[in-house]
Amino acid sequence: MGIRIGDKPYAERIQAGIENSFMRQAVSSAQGRFRTGRLKAAEELGDWEDWRTLGEEIRHHTMENLDYYLHQLSEQVEKRGGTVFFAETAEEANAYVKEVAKKKQARKVVKSKSMVTEEIGLNEALEQSGCEVVESDLGEWILQLDEDPPSHIVTPALHKNKEQIRETFANKKGYTKTDRPEELAAFAREQLRKDFLEADLGVTGCNFAVAESGAVTLVTNEGNARMVTSLPDTHIAVMGMERVVPTWEELEVVVSLLTRAAVGQKLTSYITALTGTRLDDETDGPEDFHLVIVDNGRSKILGTEFQSALHCIRCAACINACPVYRHVGGHSYGSIYPGPIGAVLTPLLDGYEDHKDLPYASTLCAACTEACPVKIPLHEHLIRHREIIVEREQMGAKSEEWMMKGFAKWASTPAAYKLSTKMARTAMKPWTKDEQIENGPGPLKGWTQSRDFPAPAKKNFREWYKQREKRRGEA
């Protein structure tokens, strides 16, 4: 699939999002629950700001020394019988996984939820080489059956309701029961249990890898990632290269931040730390373990003003706090990474050309920055993206460019400014009725489609002030 989803232009995607009232209702109620959960979890700790500071410091230190920690990680994995493949590109990563699958003569691959494998399009690659790939996270499984992309990085099927899910199960898997979530989940349990037991290869992502011991940590609730890493003989973990922490002590902190910020849980049902292959005297767990460390555009973010975007721990707190996301939904972003972090990351990983509208999909209200458990200044990154789009990439609309040039002249020439504020009322007169503009020209058109715009005052402030000073002088 790759990082891009859909091929519709931004404006159409946004319009489709706004018109999808079910999706908006679903997202809105989910955001409400996420938000309550996150705030409650933060409140329980009492010193959430200290936790955020620590999270930021850990991520910053790790990024500054990333080569060191990745080297250490790879050595530890090797020591524990695993194989490590450093992949510069998505193609290299996919080719390696396919090669392992081929060597193992794997026919069935079970996966647990992983954003990086979505990003590199691993499923398609494996399917092309003849493997059956089964997503086992409930949300991902629903989407896979429906051939629909994820709209959220933690709960990927957030945009679907239970009736739609029942229908998908019925059409694709012959499901005959009701749309009660418990029954739907029980059906998934029963169906997927077979897949877990039959699979030759298990593929997971990696929430965090611990450099000191070589452990790959998975943070889940359903138990599917444990199935994927306990039952098949081969386990391949794919990780974005930034997802490393120095030691178990840091791991503990970032895991605590992740579960709290993501879903308001103190810990999720399963935090599973897997190190290399199973030992000789163990019966379950993989006999063959591979760790694929993916760059795919990340290294070029290092050393830039956007480096802190790599601090992201994929908790989706920014997405859950974002009022724009609430109204347009995940698919509107045209990227598997939606919301504020998606608007920051997507142009960095996939270029500005196809994503130049994303940094503008924000009111810069900074709810994202406030929610981020590792203090990524998301709204500042969005402003910086806008500067690059305008100044370096020269992608701004011509009309806007002229307007901004005019703005600069206006705001730096007090005489022009004074004259314009004085004349504004007269200029707007043709559109003014009862001191309001209900159908404005030019840039006001969009505004006045849904709300009124006030007419400039009869006498502006500076005239009032001048007259007052004059009166005072006379008195």
């Binding site: 060191y68 990745l70 050595e75 493949f85 450093f86 810990l267 049902s269 399963y270 935090i271 190190t275």
Partner: protein
């Protein structure tokens, strides 16, 4: 070869960071350590109270007993169970330390089909058919209600995963405030050259999902029910 493309990959990382490759990094000193403050100074009994309260949040039944009362408690928990009478249990020295082996022998007389994980063919298949899986907690986290398992040859990953009901026997002595203390133990062992087990499972109650309309569904791929039995071993 077991590590591929490392040099070129890490050289690129270092180059983008604007410096030479680093072969040494001093352990970082962080400005705050809020994780140490959670339940700081709490007694073992206070931690039990917190654990019990958290069990209500994570949909987990909580029983408290003594070493001599363990047989009765286990019997009671098993008696209330309605599914498959197959039971898979972790092995290891604690089976005898807590007298559980004897309890199992008695249970076998009550139609329970009991198997102790002993790393043989068929363990996984048995666990897949079992209705109950019983483990001993290695470290128990009061704050989150989490059972930490160092999976090894006595303690297969499948025991706590495949059966519909998950039972954890929690020695009171294993209680710590939170994940911080468990992580520290592992970190210290790593530094002493004792590598961590191939799988460390931090398990908090039964499996669950909120993937359908954000409704919490308890019991998805992993266990549907969980019971913790706290045993006073101090």
């Amino acid at each position: 070869m077991t590590v591929h493309n490392r040099t070129s990959f890490l050289d690129r990382v270092a180059e983008n960071l604007g410096r030479e490759r680093r072969t040494e990094v001093k352990p970082p000193v962080y400005s705050v350590q809020p994780q140490d403050r959670v339940f700081q100074g709490a007694t073992q009994d206070e931690l039990i109270e917190m654990l019990e309260a958290q069990c209500r949040v994570i949909h987990t039944s909580f029983e408290r007993t003594t070493q001599s009362g363990l047989a009765d408690t286990l019997n009671k928990v098993l008696a209330s169970f309605e599914g498959s009478k197959k039971v898979i249990s972790a092995g290891g020295p604690r089976l005898d330390d807590f007298g559980v082996r004897g309890i199992y022998e008695e249970l076998a007389e009550d139609d329970f089909d009991l198997r102790i994980w002993n790393d043989q063919e068929g363990d996984v298949a048995f666990a897949e058919q079992a209705g109950l899986g019983i483990v001993f907690s290695d470290i128990t986290l009061a704050e989150s209600g989490t059972v930490t398992l160092f999976n090894d040859s006595y303690n297969g990953r499948s025991i706590s995963l495949l059966p519909e009901t998950f039972i954890a026997i929690i020695p009171k002595s294993t209680l710590v405030p939170r994940m911080t203390q468990a992580a520290r133990v592992i970190h210290e062992q790593e530094q002493k050259g004792n590598p961590v087990s191939s799988c460390v499972s931090f398990i908090t109650g039964p499996s669950n999902s909120a993937d359908i309309e954000m409704n919490l569904i308890v019991g998805v791929h992993g266990p549907v029910k969980a019971t913790y039995i706290l045993v006073d071993d101090l």
